[in-house]
Amino acid sequence: MSEIPAIELRKINKSFGPVHANKDIDLVVKKGSIHGIIGENGAGKSTLMSILYGFYHADDGDIIIKGKKVTIADSKAAIGMGIGMVHQHFMLVDNFSVLENVVLGAEDSALLAGGLSRARTELKRLEEEYELRVDPEALIQDLPVGLQQRVEILKALYRSAEVLILDEPTGVLTPAEADHLFKILDVLKNQGKTVLLITHKLREIMAVTDTVSVMRRGEMVATRETGNTSMEELAELMVGRSVLLRVDKEPAQPEAPVMEVENLTVTDSRGVQVVKDVSLSVRAGEIVGIAGVSGNGQSELLETLSGIRRATSGTLKIQGESIDLGSSTLDAADMRRKNMGHVPEDRHRMGLINSFTEYENSILGYHRDPAYSRGLLMDLGAIKKNAVAEIEKYDIRPPNPMLKTANFSGGNQQKIVLAREIERDPEVLLIGQPTRGVDIGAIEFIHRRIVELRDAGKGILLVSVELDEIRALSDRVLVMFDGKIVGERGSNADEGELGLLMAGVEDNRMTAEGGVQ
């Protein structure tokens, strides 16, 4: 051993009731490195980090920091030992300024003035040292998530953290913001800080880490030098078997269009045009992917087509009927009755009611369907029978329709939504971010289901900010930028080319052909 590791964990155990979340975990993190910890949702990564940050206490095992055995009683103790954490859900007070958030808990004295002015100077220094630019007087609620995350990093650095833990830091970021974050992590490393990156995205591990440890079902199964491993190997270690990173599918056999959108324009509540004169069509038996950095109008497009949002103008042709979206009063229920299913982008906000049970969620939006109701009453027997069937077909775990959806993992929650929409046999399915925050095993399953639906002759419109997903699933890719469709590519689209389009670089092919159908 030439150098004392920044952190060493020996035989850490932690159980929550019957769930053994961490089993005999050993981990050595070298000082000045970026160490990735990868694993599926529920593998115990967050629990382990919470133990390190003093949020939970280990049942047994040793924590050794800089060669000294320590007990971490609470977060305050962890901060004192130079550990900082950027949580998946930011721990910021929205209506406080950046400065107030940085100072909270490290105010120096009973009066604020001194601490605030010290923080102002210190922030300026950190800004220069780490290239972390944020206006200290700005309110958190006015900042985009990327900057909010920067504030979290600054908070840790302000407390002179030597080790920075980032828990799923890119879950809320756009690809561009994520790239920027990785640059910041590199700067931190070069300044001698140690970074622990918790994620379930293989790409990120490959892109930034020096070392990677893999967790599976509460156990640490392997540690590798990132340079000596591959995505395939890591994926296999994570799930305990090899998974297809690529989706196996036959070439599409598209038929007649099942949904046509013409000249759709949507204006949001601020009066800004967010979807600008978009025309597209989806044919039976094909998956049309919409690629783009989030916030370029994809969400609004999906919401308008599913009847949640009103359009300013535009036409929708579906099932031989032409609907003027500018004046239509069709709502989400009407759209569903027109055989248009919708898997919303955010399952927590729109797809599910987390405090409802699985069976209640399994008919949400279809509760008026005569199959599930008898007059004013719900037909609980039929609903539960249907729920049990869906649980089986979609391998939803735990297989208990009486459990609240809040108690399912992200992947299983997404399967509940997907099962609900697909099993109603829609002609057109609108899908937003089908695998956001979902573990690899479930991703594979979900992708297969989507392809099966396509092969059954349905039309699918897929919106995702994961370029890999778009490329793996789509038969045609449309790229959205600034509310417009700026390019179209086939299923074998080049990643770099799509990236340029997503960044708003003009498509020469498009100008040559004079437009996209």
């Binding site: 929550f16 979340a21 967050s46 629990t47 919470s50 940050y53 949020f55 939970y56 609470d74 977060s75 305050k76 103790a77 962890a78 901060i79 954490m85 949580h87 859900h89 721990m91 910021l92 007070v93 929205d94 209506n95 406080f96 107030e100 958030n101 100072v103 909270l104 808990g105 490290a106 105010e107 004295s109 009973a110 009066l111 604020l112 003035a113 601490g115 908070k155």
Partner: protein
Amino acid sequence: MFETIILMMDATIRVSTPLLLACLAGLYSERSGVVDIGLEGKMLGAAFGAGAVAYITANAWLGLLAGISVSVLLSLLHGFASISNRGNQIVSGVAINFLAAGLTALLGQTWFRQGGRTPSLPDGGRFTEIVWPFAEQVRNIPFIGPFYAEVLSGHKILVYVAFLAVPLTWWILFRTRFGLRLRAVGENPAAVDTAGISVVWMRYRAVIACGILCGVAGSYLSIAVGSGFGVNMTAGQGFMALAALIFAKWKPVSAMFTCLLFGFLDAAGTRLQGVEIWLIGEVPLQVFQALPYVLTVVLLAGFIGKAIPPKAAGIPYLKERS
């Protein structure tokens, strides 16, 4: 006419004082994330405690101390239920209101046998007016004189305490470490927890501050304006203070102006009782009594700006299990 205005202002200040104290009390509690619907009960308990002890000891200060103690104890009860045991804060608050209403009447009757009232206070058991220097000499100076002598001078010490508590609260809230943490814990307790600060201890300190101010408010009723405790003598002022708190959007200076407005409506209602107003006729007292609530509802409906409560108010804090 001028004399009437002066008298109205004087009355407004007197009526506003307990509202303001209770409103600031609620402010501390709710800013920390603990909704306190039990302001009424705490005031009532304090009024009784103050009245009883002031009667027995013939000492207003001991009475005040007793009033504050009762109120703080009730606060701790609310804290125990809603902070330590993460119970529903509304239910706990309502329980405290019932508890105070029942217990004060019962103990009052058992101890003093006057239908739940405490006997009239002896000299020394009540706070007396503080007359400012030269109040009598300047009384005859037009306008300023009566204003100084009637409106500013000649109130009980608790009135001045209440109005001084306003800048003090503002200063604590926005200029001290305690205030920063208090506001943070009401907005995002998880952020406070991860910063290494105890959420539970912060909230307990907030409800204790709330108890102290409520104690002063209740004591003011029984041993400053009143001369002894009367059954249910708070008569909904705790709820009125809660309405004022919402109306003031949880801000101390706005709270003062809101309480003055509500106090003025009350004073005006009393003043205009039985008076015919040109073109309108006699306005029933109830109209004035209802106005503060009507205004608050109008505010909540979004007609006068927007009242956004502290984000974590009413939600018990529970560390997530991964």
